[in-house]
């Protein structure tokens, strides 16, 4: 489904990576890893089409994503380092807006349910600004529970989450993969993904473990 062909990215004067090829099929998870600054975030943003590669291309269902921007966007869910929450909207409002922008017809009570499942009961009505770091992340991740997109691209989704939330998120991801979804994620933490096929890809030329 998602094919990456001979991808190369340059930032400033530095070539971050080149000649990257891989494929992610339905029911597969790709775990990107590598040391800090190896280019994981850049690669994920390239997969989404936010960064134009300096060489090579990304294909979705066999066609280059830059030729089918809207179609691809409809099948993609990307969560980056930044949460994309509006500080002044409450958790509920943030979730609803994000879903509707993605073209979903999410109902008010669905959103309440989902936030409760994410452990935000009693905090749904606070503006995102006063939520703790981890609670903000949870609001952002709640979109996963409502999404119908087959392809999830997640940049360090576990950062700032407590133990229980990490377990929940692992479940959600495993469920998506089991249902035939595709996931590409990065994380420095060890993550147990019980079901589905897990691929790994290491970025960076230096030895892993290099400080």
């Amino acid at each position: 489904m998602l094919d990456v062909v001979n991808l190369q990215c340059t930032r400033g004067d530095r070539r971050l990576f080149s000649g990257i090829d891989f494929t992610v099929e339905e029911g597969e998870l790709l775990h990107l890893y590598g040391h800090n600054g190896s280019g994981k975030t850049t690669l994920l943003r390239t997969l989404c089409g936010l960064v134009a590669p300096s060489q090579g291309e990304v294909r979705w269902k066999g066609e280059a994503i830059r030729n089918q921007r809207d179609e691809f966007a409809a099948e993609l869910l990307y969560l980056g380092h930044k949460n994309g929450l509006k500080d002044d909207l409450t958790g509920i409002e943030n979730l609803l807006v994000a879903c509707r922008m993605a073209g979903l017809k999410t109902k008010q009570d669905q959103a309440w349910d989902v936030l409760e499942r994410m452990g935000l009961r009693g905090h749904e009505d606070l503006p995102a600004r006063v939520l703790s770091q981890g609670q903000q992340k949870r609001v952002a991740l709640a979109r996963l529970l409502l999404s119908q997109a087959p392809l999830w691209i997640l940049d360090e989704p576990f950062v700032g989450l407590d133990v229980a939330a990490v377990a929940l998120l692992e479940n959600v991801i495993a469920g998506h993969v089991a249902n035939g979804g595709l996931v590409v994620l990065t994380t420095h933490q060890e993550v147990a993904l019980t079901s589905g096929k897990v691929k790994k890809l290491r970025l960076g030329w230096k030895e892993d473990g290099h400080v």
């Binding site: 936010l50 960064v51 134009a52 994309g84 409002e93």
Partner: protein
């Protein structure tokens, strides 16, 4: 498509409601600029009446330029812009929605308040009416044009000046026709010609600006 348009307008208006005082920023700035002049220049009504159209229009232009800086910046910083770029709708529609909401919040109050300020300058009823019409036609054009500049300078060092520098040359025709229409009205020449030019500029910018802005956003968000 219209869904996305509606959602984004609703979101931005809601946000503006939440930061009620932000809505007032532009308006307040407009009021300050217009009211400070009598303080700086002195109270002679003749001089004031002479410079009124210029002062009003310059104030509107500055207010609009200042409001611009934040048009996309907050979305850019908290990552909401990335999500907009990845939304399955034409980006220019979303841009149009954002600009429209922005205008509702910053432009319309200014138009509505101008009659009150016009009294400070001892303007006649007709003049005030013409002033309102020019502002009504001109401010959305300013917002649309300004959006291009805001998108181009997103996340750059010193975005502030750059926006002003880039946008200013594009604003000047609006200023000239806007102030010109009011002055023509005052001097009894009739401002119809100027007004239709303003209308033409508005139309042109509705058609072209969202596309240019969308292109600029894609470039800047990279």
């Amino acid at each position: 498509m219209f869904d996305a348009f509606r959602v984004i307008i609703a979101r931005d208006l809601l946000l503006a409601m939440r930061r009620r005082s932000d809505v007032l920023t532009t308006l307040f700035f407009f009021v300050i600029v217009v009211s400070l002049f009598p303080l700086g220049i002195g109270p002679e009504l003749d001089t004031l009446r002479l410079i009124a159209p210029g002062v009003f229009w310059v104030a509107a232009l500055l207010a609009s330029m200042l409001a611009l800086e934040k048009l996309f910046f907050v979305d850019y910083q908290d990552g909401a812009l990335e999500q907009m770029l990845l939304a399955p709708q034409p980006l220019s529609i979303l841009v149009l929605g954002k600009v429209f909401a922005h205008w509702l919040v910053t432009g319309v109050p200014l138009v509505l308040l101008s009659p009150l300020l016009g009294l400070q300058y001892d303007l006649s009823g007709d003049t005030i009416l013409t002033m309102m019409i020019t502002l009504l036609l001109g401010t959305p054009a300013l917002s649309l044009i300004g959006a291009i500049g805001a998108a181009l300078t997103l996340g750059l060092r010193g975005g502030g000046v750059l926006v002003s520098l880039l946008v200013l040359p594009l604003y000047i025709p609006v200023l000239i026709f806007g102030a010109g229409a009011v002055e023509a009205e005052v001097s009894g020449l009739g401002g119809a010609g100027h007004l239709s030019m303003l209308g033409a500029i508005l139309l042109l910018s509705i058609l072209a600006a969202p596309l240019a802005t969308a292109a600029a956003l894609r470039i800047s968000a990279e």
